[in-house]
């Protein structure tokens, strides 16, 4: 899989609250699913409020799918994985490739 198809996610959280930890754990699981084809950046907006302003973050946690298009924003602790994958709108190729195929 080439660079363009790498899944790029940015997760905005506040501090080390339980809710932030939950969201981070859930994103890590998605990352696991895509084995090396998923980059996740976690941003604590308390440390980088200017990034929160730039991305107009309203609620936290907020997950932004930067690549591949279309851009998606998902609010919440991402606890429902099915819902999360659906909302990420990654496309059928992605959905079928990692999880369902035997290694």
């Amino acid at each position: 899989m080439n660079q363009a198809e790498t899944l790029q996610l940015i997760l905005f959280v506040t501090d080390d609250t339980p809710r932030s930890a939950e969201a981070i754990a859930n994103v890590k699981q998605v990352q696991q699913l895509y084995r090396g084809q998923c980059e996740v950046t976690v941003i604590d907006i308390l440390e980088h409020p200017e990034l929160a302003e730039r991305e107009k973050i309203f609620a936290t946690p907020t997950l932004i799918k930067v690549q591949p298009p279309p851009l998606r924003r998902i609010v919440g602790d991402l606890s429902d994985h099915m819902q999360l994958l659906k909302s990420l709108d990654i496309g059928s190729g992605y959905l079928s490739s990692p999880a369902s195929q035997p290694v």
């Binding site: 905005f12 959280v13 859930n26 609620a59 602790d77």
Partner: protein, 507 residues
């Protein structure tokens, strides 16, 4: 402030700079606290929220943060230019910062699992720190409710925001929607959390006319004026509140006399009008009210006074032509800078707007005397209630300036009777002059009487007067006519009059 250990925090007020508001709130908004400004759609909440920051920058050098939930910063920048608030420039100068939480900013967010408003709070705190803001406005809370669909969560998060604002010691205005003018404070019950202070903006349709009022409903731990105060939104000032019943009667009363512009009338009044008095001239159409007004102006100019004529019935050309017809040259007086004639059709503005225009004119021209011809023409512009407030506002303003004011009122019937104007103004006036038609022996004649002259003796006769190219000529009293003022004159027998005269004649 952390260093203080006082158990009860004293409420200090922050002057907003919004005209009239600091009077109604007895000093402004509680400093370092959050005030809810609630109103229906179109009640000028957003303008109020913007103006709170704008006045801070313009008048007090205080910087502001505007958190917008509904309109985009671009829309607001554009819309507020007309009020003379250059928001974009202030942003460049670091005096104003937007926190854009408008719907456009992130339109198709999906929700998966639990969340809070941490992002918003961090951004608000960041913005306040960045410009070192003393003032913040959040407009409007209703938009968050319609966006997040979890009222309980929104409420508890708003509570967090309010707490954060308090900790940062900024003075905050939060706007919220109401569904009806007289009902629940706000749609979503947000006042429970920011309920220290609540202000209501109303925009009531009354008798087919819009009437804006502001009311301080709640000011925890501090005093304020009670009740509804009318306000208006003008293009160059934004929200202007008219504190009517709060006007104090503290003006000095002078016993200096000034001429009415008519010597015979001066005599009837016991030596002219008082310098800082309100005179009401009442009469049917054509009885000579405009003439009396014109002479009042000319009398002032001839004594070197500055005179302001506010005309609501006749055009400039008509007024000037009338004056020439009575031997008075308004053109020359205006050229000399002693006279200012301001004509306006009553319907061109609301009563509140008229009042502001009048105050501006008086403050700018600084006249020694002002005449209104006619006050009753303004009756039809507003409701009876707002007209009464207008009259109170105008008369008390004029009294405050310690200048003379002459108002004319047109009576509804030719032969007399009280007008609405009279009913509202008569107790506020120091003098009342009545002009009446008198039908006698098959012809119409004119009568004048001084009905009231506060603080002075005056002649109680009902005198006949005539009008010619030199103006008004007051003649002899109607000796043997009774019922003139009631509009039903009849002649009492001369024999009887003479007999009575004889009886009381002192040799």
């Amino acid at each position: 402030m952390s260093g203080e250990s006082a158990p009860i925090e004293r409420v200090v007020k922050l002057p907003t700079g919004i005209q009239g508001f600091d009077f109604v709130t007895e000093g402004g908004l509680p400093r370092g606290r959050t005030t809810l400004v609630a109103g229906t759609a179109g009640s000028a909440k957003t303008i109020f929220a913007i103006q709170f920051l704008a006045e801070g920058i313009l008048k007090y050098g205080e910087r502001g943060v505007f958190v917008t939930f509904e309109e985009t910063p671009d829309d607001l920048r554009r819309n507020m230019i007309s009020f003379g608030w250059p928001i974009a420039q202030w942003e460049r100068e670091g005096k104003w910062l937007f926190v854009d939480v408008s719907m456009h900013a992130n339109s198709d967010e999906k929700v998966v699992g639990a969340y809070d408003f941490g992002g918003l709070i961090v951004r608000i705190e960041h913005a306040i720190r960045r410009v070192r803001a003393q003032r913040i406005s959040l407009d409007s809370l209703g938009a968050i409710f319609s966006r997040m669909h979890q009222p309980d969560l929104v409420r508890s998060e708003l509570l967090r925001i309010a707490a954060a604002l308090k900790q940062m010691n900024v003075t905050a205005v939060l706007t919220a929607e109401r569904t009806e003018e007289y009902g629940a404070i706000s749609r979503n019950g947000v006042e429970e959390f920011v309920a220290d202070n609540v202000i209501i903006l109303r925009n009531v349709l009354d008798d087919e006319k819009r009437r804006r009022t502001i009311e301080v409903l709640k000011y925890r731990g501090t005093s304020h004026q009670k009740g509804e105060y009318p306000f208006t939104v003008t293009p160059d000032k934004g929200v202007v509140i008219i504190p009517l019943s709060a006007i104090e009667l503290k003006q000095r009363s002078s016993d200096l006399r000034i001429t009415s512009g008519n010597q015979a009338l001066d005599v009837l009044c016991g030596g002219g009008f008082f310098r800082d008095s309100i005179v009401l001239v009442s009469g049917a159409t054509g009885t000579g009210k405009t003439l009396l007004t014109t002479e009042f102006m000319a009398g002032g100019v001839n004594n070197g006074e500055r005179c302001l004529l506010l005309a609501f019935e006749e055009s400039r050309e008509q007024l000037f032509r009338n004056a020439i017809g009575w031997g008075i040259d308004f053109d020359r007086m205006e050229a000399d800078g002693k006279l200012r004639v301001h004509c306006a059709y009553p319907e061109t503005a609301s009563l509140e707007d008229h009042l502001i225009t009048i105050k501006d004119l008086v403050s700018e021209f600084k006249p020694n005397r002002v005449a209104f011809d006619s006050l009753s023409a303004l009756e039809r512009v507003g409701t009876i209630k707002s007209f009464r407030e207008f009259v109170i506002g105008v008369t008390s303003f004029i009294k405050h300036q310690e200048i003379a004011g002459l108002f004319t009122a047109t009576t509804p019937t030719l032969t007399g009777g009280a007008s609405v104007t009279e009913a509202h103004i008569s107790t506020l006036t120091d003098s009342i002059i009545l002009l009446r038609y008198v039908e006698m022996n098959g012809e119409m004649r004119r009568a004048l009487t001084v009905l009231k002259m506060r603080g002075s003796m005056h002649n109680k006769d009902i005198c006949e007067f005539t009008i010619d190219q030199q103006g008004m000529h007051i003649g002899r009293p109607f000796r043997n006519v009774i019922g003139i003022l009631t509009g039903n004159p009849h002649i009492s027998a001369p024999g009887e009059m003479e007999r009575l005269d004889e009886l009381f004649r002192t040799q």
